[in-house]
C-alpha cells in the first residue's frame, strides 16, 4: 500500500518520458502494475461472523468472500439481480412439476483441480440440511423431499422446552445422482420459482476435501468460482486471486483483490478519499448529511437501488395490536416522504408494498392507500379502534444506524395521533433477535429484509406465512397462506408472481407490518477503478471490477 503513493509519481514520470520521446504506447505499465498480487485492488470488509463454509455463513461479510469463490447452478447478474444458468446446462421440470433434472456443465474444476460432478452438489446439500451438522442455512433445503427426515421439526416450536427428535435419515430422498453430470431434485410439493432460488449461496457444490478434512477447508476454503482463496490474516485482511481456468461467464478481470477489515466506517471513508482503499460499500452517517459525500466524491460515488425493505413490524400477539384499525391508523400517521427527504436526503424510496421496489416480477402498490400519509383518516381510525392508552413503545437495535429515522417515525406518529410515543433501544442485534424470536416485543419494532433470490416471494413467505421461518409478527392468514401455496404450484414463473402479488395485496388488507422505505446501496470507488459495481445486496461485485486506463 505504501508503494502506491510511489507508483503514481513514478508512472507519471514514465508516461511523460514516453510522450516526450514520442514513443507512444499509452503507458500500459500502470494497468499491469495494479490489481496484481503485489498491488491488489483493496475493498472495505469486516470480519465474518461465521466460518467460511457456504452452508454455515449468513452475514454480508461472509458472502462477500464466498460469492466470488463459489459458483452454483444459477447465478444472479450483479447489475440487475436476474437469475441465469451458471454451472447448470439445463434444469428440466417433470410433468408432475415436482422433479427437476439438472444437467451440469462438463470440464469445470475446483481450485484444487478436482472436477465438479453432480455428486459434489448432492453431498453438499445433504450436509447442509442434516440437523446434527447444525448449519445456519439448513432451512434453505426445506422444500426438497426428505428434508423432514434429516432435519425433524421441533414439536413445540423453537422457544419450547422439548428438543426435536433425532433424524431418521442422513440423506434427503429427493436428491439422486444419475451420472457424473446429471442429478435429480424431487420436491415435497411443486414450487414454481425453485430454480431461481438455486443461486443462493447455500446451494453451491463442495469439493471432496471438504468432507475428508473439514478443518483444513475452513482455514483455506476451496471453491469453483472465478476467484480463489489466497491468504487470510484473521481480523485484518483476506486476499483473493483470479482463478485462471474459470469456465463461467463472469470471470472477472482483476488479478488480485484484498479485503481489508475496517472497524470504523469513517476510517474507510477517509482512506477512500486519499486513495488508500479502492472500494467501500458504506458511507458514514456524518458524510451523508446534506449529501456531503456526493460533493466530496463526485464521480466516485456509487448509489443504486437496493433489493431490501425496512418495515415496522407489529406484535400481533399483543392484545392491543389485534385491532386492524389501530394498525392502519399507525401506518397512515407516518409521513414517509418527509422522513426520506429529511433523514435520508432523498437517498431512499418510499415503500408502497412489502417487497423491494426493484425486484423482478413484483406487483406494485400492494399497500395502497394505507401507506400514504393521511392525518385525518389516521385520527378517525384511531377513534374507531377506541384510542390508545399509555405509551406506544417503538423498539430498534442500537448497534445499527436506526436511531435517527426511528426518532422521526416516532415523532410523526406522536404529532399526528396525539398519543405518547417512546423509543426503546435494544443494545445489540443479538438481544433484539432473541426478543423477536420469543415474542417479547411490547410495541412496533423495526425490521429489515434483503432478498435472498430474485422473486417477490422472498419478501412474503418467510415473513408473513403461518409459522414462517422469519415470521415474528405472529400474523396468520389462511387467505395469504393459500395464495402463496397456489403461487408455488403455478405453471409458470409469471403466473406465480401474479399470485404472490395477490398475497401481497392481502397484506394490504391486514397490515401485519407497516412498510416504510428502501434505502439505497451507497458506496464509492477510487480513481484506480474504471468500474466497481456494488450488487443490489450492497456487496462489491468483484467480477465487475475493471482497472482504469492511465490518464494522459
Amino acid at each position: 500500500m505504501r508503494k502506491r503513493r510511489m507508483v503514481a509519481p513514478v508512472a507519471a514520470t514514465l508516461a511523460v518520458g514516453l510522450l516526450a520521446s514520442a514513443c507512444g504506447g499509452g503507458g500500459g505499465g500502470v494497468t499491469e502494475a495494479t490489481g496484481t498480487l503485489k498491488d491488489p485492488i483493496t475493498v472495505q470488509w469486516g470480519e465474518p461472523q461465521s466460518e467460511l463454509v457456504p452452508t454455515n455463513s449468513n452475514d454480508t461479510f461472509g458472502s462477500q468472500v464466498l460469492n466470488p469463490m463459489f459458483t452454483g447452478l444459477i447465478e444472479y447478474t450483479p447489475k440487475s439481480f436476474e437469475a441465469r444458468n451458471a454451472m447448470a446446462k439445463s434444469i428440466a421440470l417433470s410433468k408432475d412439476k415436482k422433479t427437476y433434472t439438472v444437467e451440469i456443465k462438463q470440464g469445470w474444476k475446483f481450485h484444487n483441480g478436482e472436477e465438479v460432478t453432480a455428486d459434489n452438489f448432492v453431498r453438499a446439500w445433504n450436509y447442509g440440511a442434516y440437523a446434527p451438522n447444525g448449519q445456519q442455512n439448513a432451512a434453505m433445503f426445506n422444500r426438497i423431499q426428505g428434508y423432514k427426515e434429516v432435519h425433524p421439526a421441533d414439536p413445540d416450536g423453537e422457544s419450547g422446552p422439548k428438543k426435536p427428535p433425532k433424524p431418521t435419515a442422513k440423506k434427503m430422498s429427493g436428491l439422486k445422482v444419475v451420472d457424473d453430470h446429471t442429478f435429480t431434485i424431487t420436491l415435497q410439493d411443486p414450487f414454481s420459482v425453485f430454480p431461481t432460488k438455486l443461486g443462493y449461496q447455500a446451494f453451491v457444490p463442495l469439493p471432496d476435501t471438504f468432507f475428508t478434512n473439514r478443518e483444513k477447508f475452513v482455514d483455506h476454503p476451496v471453491g469453483n468460482g472465478p476467484y480463489k482463496f489466497e491468504s487470510r490474516t484473521p481480523s485484518e485482511s483476506l486476499t483473493l486471486t483470479r482463478y485462471k481456468d474459470y469456465k463461467g461467464e463472469d470471470a472477472g478481470s482483476v488479478d488480485a483483490v484484498k479485503l481489508l477489515v475496517y472497524n470504523k466506517v469513517l476510517t474507510a471513508y477517509q482512506d477512500l478519499k486519499s486513495g488508500n482503499v479502492d472500494v467501500i460499500n458504506t458511507i458514514p452517517t456524518s458524510a451523508l448529511a446534506n449529501g456531503r459525500w456526493k460533493q466530496e466524491l463526485g464521480e466516485r460515488a456509487i448509489s443504486r437501488e437496493r433489493m431490501g425493505i425496512t418495515v415496522l413490524n407489529l406484535p400481533m400477539y399483543q392484545e392491543k395490536f389485534k385491532d386492524p384499525n389501530l394498525r392502519k391508523a399507525l401506518s397512515l400517521a407516518i409521513d414517509r416522504k418527509k422522513i426520506v427527504k429529511q433523514v435520508f436526503n432523498g437517498e431512499a424510496t418510499v415503500a408502497d408494498g412489502w417487497s423491494a421496489p426493484g425486484i423482478p416480477g413484483r406487483t406494485d402498490g400492494a399497500c395502497g392507500q394505507w401507506c400514504t400519509y393521511n392525518p385525518s383518516k389516521a385520527k378517525e381510525l384511531l377513534k374507531k379502534a377506541g384510542g390508545f392508552e399509555g405509551t406506544l413503545t417503538l423498539s430498534y437495535n442500537a448497534d445499527g444506524a436506526h436511531k435517527q429515522w426511528m426518532t422521526a417515525v416516532a415523532g410523526s406518529i406522536r404529532d399526528t395521533l396525539g398519543i405518547k410515543v417512546g423509543l426503546n433501544a435494544v443494545p445489540t442485534f443479538s438481544t433484539y433477535q432473541d426478543q423477536m424470536d420469543n415474542n417479547e416485543m411490547v410495541g412496533p419494532f423495526r425490521y429489515g429484509w434483503v432478498a435472498d433470490y430474485p422473486t417477490p416471494r422472498t419478501f412474503l413467505k418467510p415473513l408473513y406465512s403461518t409459522g414462517g421461518s422469519a415470521n415474528n409478527t405472529g400474523y396468520s392468514s389462511k387467505k395469504f397462506d393459500d395464495l402463496i401455496a397456489q403461487g408455488d404450484q403455478a405453471a409458470s414463473v409469471k403466473k406465480a408472481n401474479e399470485l404472490y402479488g395477490k398475497a401481497e395485496q392481502q397484506l394490504g388488507k391486514d397490515l401485519p407490518s407497516i412498510p416504510l422505505f428502501t434505502q439505497t446501496v451507497k458506496g464509492a470507488k477510487s480513481n484506480r477503478l474504471a468500474e466497481g459495481t456494488l450488487n443490489t445486496r450492497t456487496n462489491p461485485a468483484i467480477t465487475t471490477f475493471k482497472v482504469a486506463e492511465p490518464q494522459q
Binding site: A139, P234, E236, S237, N263, L266, Q270, S274, N276, Q433
Partner: protein, 308 residues
Amino acid sequence: MGRYILRRLLQLIPVFIGTTFIIYALVWAIPGNPFAGMCGPRGCPQAFIEQMSQQYNLDEPLPVQYVLYLGQLLTGNFGETFNGIEVSTLIQNAYPVTLKLATIALIVEAVVGIAAGILTALRGKGFVDNLVLAATLFLIAVPVFVSGFVLQVVLGVQLEWIQPSVGSDPAIGELIVPGIVLGSLSMAYIARLTRTAMFENKRADYIRTATAKGLAPKRVVGIHMLRNSLIPVITFIGTDFGALMGGAIVTEGVFNIHGIGGLVFNAIQTQEGVTVTGVVTLLVIVYLLMNLLVDILYAALDPRIRYD
C-alpha cells in the same frame, strides 16, 4: 528482594483466577443468546444454536463452564472464536502492533511530559509555565477521538503527509502519529505531576544541603531532586502502560490499527466470551507485572524504600 518478588508472583495466582472468573461470568451473563443474531433477520435454526451452545459448553452451569474453560486455558489453548479462528492466532497478530503503539506512546509521553515538567518547575512562574499549563489543560480537555480524527484529516487527507490509516503490518514510522495521539492525554498528566513533585522537593532540606555543600546545580537537579520527584511519575507511567495496552480502542479505531483494543471491543459487541476472556487474562498479567516492575524501581530511586 528475591523472596519479595516470589511473593508478588504468587499473588498473581488468586488475582488471575478472580479476574478471569469475573470477566467470564460477566461476558456470558449479557442477556440474550449470543448466537441468536448470527443468522441475520431470519434468526438461527435450532440445530445451529444447539450445536454452538454445546461447542462452547453453554449448556453446562456457569461454574462448570468456567472450570472447563480454565482447564483449557492452562494447557495453553485459548479456544476458538465463533467464526472458527484460534483466539491465540488473533492475539499473536494483535499483540505486537499494540505493544509497538503503546511503547511509542509511552516514550513520547515520558520524554515530552517529564521535560516539560522539569522546565516549568525550574523556571518558576512565567510565560513558559503558563504556556505549558494552558497546553496541558487543552490536551486533557480534548477527547482522543477528536484529536485523532483532526490529525487524520489534516495530516492524512489534506496534507497527505501520512496515510490516513495504518497498514496490516505497520512500521514504526506509521505508528508515530497514532502513538502521539494515544500518549497525549497522559503526557499532560506527567508534565503536571513532574512539575508539582519538583516544586515540592525544591524547598526540601536535602536540596538545600546539597546546594550548600557546593554541588553543581546540574547534579543537584539531575541526581538529587529528579530522582525523588520521579517516584509518583514512575507509578503513573507503570499503570499507564497497562492502560495503553488495553485502552487504545478509540485510537485503534480511528487509524484502523488491528490491535488488542479493537479486538476486545469487537468481541464484546458480538458477545464472543472466549476472545474477551483470553485477551483480558493477558492484560491482567501485563498490569500485574508492570506494577511489580514499578515497585522494584522504587528501591532504585529511593534506597530508603526497602522490601521485606
